[in-house]
């Protein structure tokens, strides 16, 4: 097994890192302090990201992306993940892969404007009453005169305020299964401005300042049948086949931030003197550094292995769950210890550590909580023995 990076991968890392350090870092503090990412700043950085071919690079070549293999894509995600989330997610957007599931006309209408940086997508599954148990959703759509009529509420929907449209998952029926009735789910494109569709300001969130979440309300919102993404009643099937790797994306962005925090901690430990010597010479500090590096490497290897398997077509849900679980938990640990090593300074917003620490919190919740990842891993173990 080859653990080295190819020449292209090395260059992808270098270019993306240089962009992140030069074009995103300088704006971080302003976004963190104000909680706002102004549109003119988005446009300015977006133009540079498009020129550098970094914008929407997750996409295949035929639609204007970079056509990266999974590992290369995740290396790019890792570098972007170093920066403030709102900045990298908005200004160097990676449109959701699920947009590739659209038919030719839907790709033209929804995917292409996202790739060109004209708008953003958002994805709405979660509801106040349905989080981990998405199938329990209450929001529904009924067929009526060739259209669909949508009703219900979604919440925690990321960057729905910026997005030009939403991909919304709605219950469209129920089927009987041996384990009881099961809801059938369908995915719809809903354009902003469609009557009966309202986007309300969401909650203020401890993580990822400047990156908003919204509440989406559907009140007899009528959309034509051509707005169905994939097949009717097959919404989760579409999601599963196109969104599988988003957990690896979460893992990678966490690795980037953890690496940044570790580098700051190492530099500080080598420089800061107390009791007449570098604090890195005290085992109380140096062993922390060793554990941080060790855990980070373990998380990175899990992620890389899952990426490699993804391209081999042999990845399992459990592999991706392990990578997501480990990387998000390691980030929390590394961020916390990096602050500890910095003493009081670690808490101050002159350094990016306090926010890396805050930002780490959401990563163990979204894209499947840590408990749900453990559930996936253990289910795979038990199923193998008929459990």
């Amino acid at each position: 097994m080859d653990f080295g990076l190819t020449e292209e991968q090395r260059m992808i890392v270098e270019t993306t890192r240089a962009f992140v350090e030069e074009e995103l870092y300088p704006h971080e503090q302003r976004v963190e302090r104000t909680g706002v990412l102004p549109l003119e700043l988005i446009r300015e950085i977006q133009a540079k990201a498009i020129a550098a071919g970094l914008y929407a690079a997750n996409m295949p070549v035929e639609v204007g992306g970079a056509g990266l293999d999974t590992l290369s894509w995740l290396l790019y995600e890792k570098e972007l993940g170093r920066a403030n989330y709102a900045l990298h997610w908005t200004c160097v957007a990676r449109p959701s892969n699920i947009l590739l599931a659209g038919n030719a006309e839907q790709r033209e209408r929804y995917l292409m404007p996202c790739i060109r940086g004209e708008t953003w997508d958002c994805l709405a599954m979660t509801e106040p009453g349905a989080g981990s148990d998405l199938r329990g959703m209450k929001a529904s759509a009924r067929a009526e005169g060739g259209d669909w009529v949508l009703n219900g509420t979604k919440h925690f929907i990321s960057h729905a305020d910026l997005a030009g449209f939403a991909i919304v998952f709605m219950a469209t029926g129920e089927e009987e299964t041996p384990r009881g009735p099961k809801k059938l789910i369908t995915a719809f494109f809903v354009d902003k401005g469609t009557p009966g569709f309202t986007v309300r300001e969401g909650y203020r969130n401890v993580s990822h300042r400047g990156y908003t979440n919204s509440v989406l309300e559907f009140d007899d919102c009528r959309v034509p049948a051509e707005n169905v993404l994939g097949e009717v009643h097959k919404g989760f099937e579409v999601a599963n086949s196109w969104l599988g790797a988003t957990r690896l994306q979460v893992a990678s962005t966490c690795l980037g931030r953890a690496e940044r925090a570790l580098a700051l901690a190492v530099a500080y430990a080598a420089e800061r003197k107390q009791f007449g010597q570098q604090i890195g010479k005290f085992q109380g500090v140096s062993f922390k550094l060793a554990d941080m590096a060790l855990e980070l490497k373990a998380a990175e290897l899990l992620t890389r292995e899952a990426a490699w398997k993804y391209d081999q077509g042999t990845v399992t849900d459990g592999d991706m769950a392990m990578a997501k679980l480990k990387a998000t938990e390691v980030l929390a640990m590394v961020a916390d210890e990096a602050i500890q090593i910095h003493g009081g300074m670690g808490l101050m917003d002159e350094l990016p550590l306090e926010r890396i620490w805050r930002d780490a919190r959401v990563e163990r919740i979204w894209e499947g909580t840590s408990e749900i990842q453990r559930h996936i891993i253990s289910r795979e173990l038990l199923r193998a023995v008929g459990g």
Partner: protein, 253 residues
């Protein structure tokens, strides 16, 4: 018109340089290496000339260890068309001297017949600032050094040079050797699509023997030492004391 750009693999400008224990040079084992920043500016300028329709092809050449291939791929990913690697040593600590590099480049120039050679004004590792000038002398071509602006006008190049105390604009007849300075341009990021395309671009590997050039060293490094650390500052008690110290101790007023 073809543009030839020599690029050198050097210790990355962000790396904290360490002198080897025996003083024979700088420790280059396991340190990050990158394209010489001035060469990056030269590559950028060559690509801009191509985008303006002035240049038809950008050829990059590197002389050194086989790892310089990475440097060449970076130049290809920025937008150069083709690369030549002259493997002159397999020891990362061996620096090929400017005269040997200039002789090899002269041989490449004879084969490639470029209209312009764009060099970095110097490499940031040894700061020799000699290769471009030597190359011009060996070829008997015109030279314009420290360029901060370049305009190709027919069979001439108008070059603005950064000289002590100001700017000087000269006109040189082509073909010419132009060495570039910091303020000429801001090199672009290698774009991701171009990075992916770079692998398919041709990279020829040669040796000094292919060009019949003797690269044996003529210089010897006697000793390499770290620059003296800066002495800690002193606090002065009053303006009068400051003035006295500036006058008597520093001798600046």
């Amino acid at each position: 018109m073809k543009v030839l750009v020599p690029v050198k693999r050097v210790i990355d400008y962000n790396v904290k340089v360490r002198v080897k224990a025996d003083g024979s040079g700088v420790d280059l084992a396991n340190v990050k290496m990158s394209m010489n920043p001035f060469d990056e500016i030269a590559v950028e300028e060559a690509i801009r000339l191509k985008e303006k329709g002035v240049a038809t092809e950008v050829v990059v050449v590197s002389i050194g260890v086989k790892q310089a291939q990475e440097t060449l791929r970076n130049a290809l990913a920025m937008g150069a068309d083709r690369a030549i690697l002259i493997e002159a040593t397999d020891n990362v600590h061996v620096d090929i001297e400017p005269l040997a590099v200039a002789k090899l480049l002269a041989a490449v120039v004879k084969e490639e017949a470029p209209g312009v050679v764009l060099c970095g004004k110097q490499a940031i590792d040894n700061d020799m600032n000699a290769t471009g000038q030597m190359l011009a002398a060996l070829l008997g071509w015109s030279q314009a050094t420290f360029a901060s602006e370049i305009a190709i006008e027919g069979d001439k190049a108008r070059v603005t040079r950064e000289v002590d105390g100001g700017l000087q604009t000269i006109s040189v007849k082509l073909p010419s050797i132009i060495t570039v300075d910091l303020r000429l341009n801001e090199p672009r990021y290698a774009s991701l699509p171009n990075i992916m395309k770079a692998k398919a671009k041709p990279l020829a590997t040669k040796t000094p023997a292919d060009y019949g050039v003797d690269i044996s060293p003529r210089l010897s490094v006697v000793k390499t030492v770290e620059p003296a650390g800066r002495k800690a500052g002193v606090k002065v008690g009053s303006v009068d004391e400051l003035i006295r110290k500036l006058k008597d101790e520093a001798g600046v007023i």
